[in-house]
């Protein structure tokens, strides 16, 4: 009888050491060495003056006032938003049709998606160049048929968008595919018996239910394309004014390097992604709150 009482009186010990925690040491060391330390270094560098003599906010001032870098930021945001929206819309249908396929066909398509979502960077740019570049197969084919008006210019914004969309769609499909399993077949049946057609079902029930998954996927796509560097660089070199390319050339360029400014831009890029994540988390919390507190 008195046992529970004495137990209840004892103050709860929050930080009891568990030997299992030792297993986390390698992980923690890894995080510190490859995530935390570089990040600190990056932030410190971004706060240095050009000649590294004193700390200043001048790099940020330059980054946020120079029309050149501002343009790089807006270009990056534009192409990321664009390719994410296209990727999301296309994969919305692609992932849904995946759920309707038989097991074997689905497995095969998932494998292909997985492969092509990771197929970015130099090989992807190269593949596009031999297909759609100035001497690409399709460019030459279309030319010889007199249809050169239809051949897209790979080295334009459209071309770049095309390449981005190429890796966004399979990634989005992979991320969205499991989301659809959150939709029960019986909701559709119940809705149908209550007079809702397929369109009404998706508008009133299907989409609202998968909305958190959609938003999460969108943020990942956005971050993915904001940070894409190798693909763009391999395709258009330094010619395109993108944030990732600017950072690359400031940190490791062959003409002039300004690692301090590059670091400041990198920090800004990181902040933008964090802001996107925060907005997403905030929206989702609001949504869930609405559904739990009502």
């Amino acid at each position: 009888m008195s046992q529970p009482l004495t137990l209840a009186k004892k103050p709860a010990r929050r930080f009891r050491f568990k030997p299992v925690a030792l297993a986390l040491i390698p992980f923690a060391a890894l995080i510190v060495a490859f995530e935390v330390l570089p990040l600190i270094y990056l932030v410190m560098t971004s706060l240095l003056s050009d000649d590294e003599t004193h700390y200043t906010l001048a790099q940020y001032a330059t980054a946020l006032t120079s029309p050149y870098y501002l343009k790089a930021i807006t270009n990056s945001v534009t192409i990321s938003l664009g390719s994410s929206v296209i990727g999301l819309v296309v994969s919305l249908f692609a992932a849904y049709s995946l759920t309707k396929l038989s097991g074997a066909a689905r497995e095969r398509l998932l494998t292909i998606s997985n492969m092509s979502s990771n197929f970015a960077g130099v090989p992807l740019a190269f593949a596009y160049i031999i297909l759609l570049g100035n001497n690409g197969i399709f460019t030459i084919l279309l030319d010889s048929w007199g249809l050169d008006a239809f051949s897209p210019d790979l080295y334009s914004w459209t071309g770049l968008m095309l390449v981005y969309v190429y890796f966004q769609i399979p990634l989005a499909t992979l991320l969205l595919y499991p989301v659809y399993f959150g939709i029960s077949e019986q909701w559709k049946e119940a809705a149908a018996l209550l007079g809702a057609g397929s369109f009404a079902f998706w508008r009133k029930i299907g989409l609202p239910v998968i909305l958190p998954g959609l938003a999460g996927t969108f943020i990942i796509l956005f971050a993915n394309s904001m940070g894409a560097y190798a693909t763009a660089y391999a395709l258009v070199g330094g010619n395109f004014n993108l944030l990732a390319i600017r950072i690359g050339s400031l940190v490791a360029g062959d003409v002039v390097t300004k690692p301090q400014l590059g670091s400041a831009l990198a920090v800004l890029l990181g902040l933008m992604m964090m802001a996107a994540l925060a907005v997403n988390a905030r929206l989702m919390r609001g949504l869930r709150k609405e559904q739990t507190n009502g």
């Binding site: 029960s184 019986q186 909701w187 049946e189 119940a190 809705a191 149908a192 018996l193 209550l194 007079g195 809702a196 057609g197 009404a200 009133k204 029930i205 609202p208 239910v209 559904q291 739990t292 009502g294």
Partner: protein, 351 residues
């Protein structure tokens, strides 16, 4: 012609050569009637409901509701409601919006929707949960909301597929009474599916016992319980002892039962119709209109108000139920006992 009319409905899944899931099933349901489909797992109960709802296509035969042929109609035009075992409430909508959904789809005016939903929530006694989301409700509450959601659009036929199976025993019993009350109040024609015989016996106007895509017997709960027609029904309802004609010879039956109008293949004996007594006492004079036999108790379990004995008579195993009297009169396992059954308590069965 009945209000709901099934006319030789057949359904095959997969290769049409295989056994049909619904086998030329015919059935009529009257307006306002509560009909229960009772049968073992896989006998085609859900499939039959889904065929009426248009969620599964019928291969042969037709279904009519109030004179209208439903067979090739889209689900949303059929005017039937369905309640699922898993509730299937829309998780992104409040209780109110769930119930209002069908009315909105019908394009009903806002004020009228509000009035109808309010009335529905009163009927299921959930008015104060109107703004809550489904995942905050208990299973029983969710199922009541699902019921209200279907009732709100006033379907001509209400179908429920094991609506109580996912609930615990106490809630289940409460909801049985409540569903039956609402059904009678609204005069709602209902097709109810269960594989719980007690549920079927307590709720229904009429029970259809289904077996392998056919209706084996249909009748009022009393008829089904007291006069099973086949061995399958007898086994499925009320734990009958089913004895073949040869086995009846073992317990002493010799004369042919011409009274039944057919030569029965088997007999059903209700456990509570078997009297059990210690083998020694009252030996000799058993009543002339009863069969009697000696056996050994192999098992005795208490079912609360009842004691259930399993008695071994030769190689026959017979179940008896007795009121759970004070322990003094209990027969222990291994005890020799005498069993007596009135002749007219043996129900002749066909097939």
């Amino acid at each position: 012609m009945s209000y709901v009319e099934f006319e030789r409905v057949s359904k095959y899944f997969g290769n049409a050569g295989g056994a049909p899931v619904l086998d030329a099933l015919s059935l009529g349901v009257e307006k306002g009637e509560f009909v229960t489909l009772l049968g073992p797992s896989g006998c085609g109960k859900s499939t039959l409901l889904r065929c009426v709802a248009g969620l599964t296509e019928i291969d042969e035969g037709r279904v009519r509701l109030d004179g209208v042929d439903l067979t090739n109609m889209a689900p949303k035009k059929r005017n039937v409601g369905m309640v699922f075992q898993s509730y299937a409430l829309f998780p992104n909508m409040t209780v109110y919006d769930n119930v209002a959904f069908g009315l909105k789809m019908k394009g009903m005016a806002r004020a009228e929707i509000e009035r109808t939903v309010k009335r529905m929530l009163e009927i299921i006694d959930m008015s104060e949960k109107s703004g809550q989301y489904p995942h905050r409700l208990s299973g029983g509450q969710q199922q009541r909301v699902a019921l209200a959601r279907s009732l709100a659009v006033q379907p001509k036929l209400m179908m429920m597929d094991e609506p109580l199976s996912a609930l615990d025993a106490k809630i289940r019993k409460m909801l049985r009474v409540e569903i039956r009350r609402i059904q009678q109040e609204l005069g709602m024609t209902t097709l109810f599916v269960t594989h719980d015989q007690e549920e079927a016996l307590t709720m229904s106007d009429r029970i259809c016992i289904m077996n392998q895509g056919r209706i084996e017997q249909t009748g009022t709960p009393e008829e089904i319980y007291a006069r099973p027609k086949t061995a399958f029904v007898a086994r499925f309802i009320g734990n009958y002892n089913v004895l073949s004609a040869e086995e009846m010879a073992v317990i002493g039956r010799t004369q042919s039962a011409s009274a039944a109008g057919f030569e029965p293949e088997a007999y059903a004996i209700r456990p509570e119709a078997v009297r059990i007594s210690a083998a020694d006492d009252g030996s000799g004079d058993s009543p002339a209109d009863a069969y009697s036999m000696d056996g050994t108790v192999s098992d005795c379990t208490s079912l609360g108000a009842l004691l259930r004995y399993t008695v071994q008579v030769g190689n026959l195993s017979i179940t008896t139920d007795e009121l759970n009297a004070p322990a003094s009169s209990r027969h222990a396992a291994g005890a020799r006992v005498r069993l007596e059954v009135d002749r007219n308590a043996c129900v002749p069965l066909q097939g």
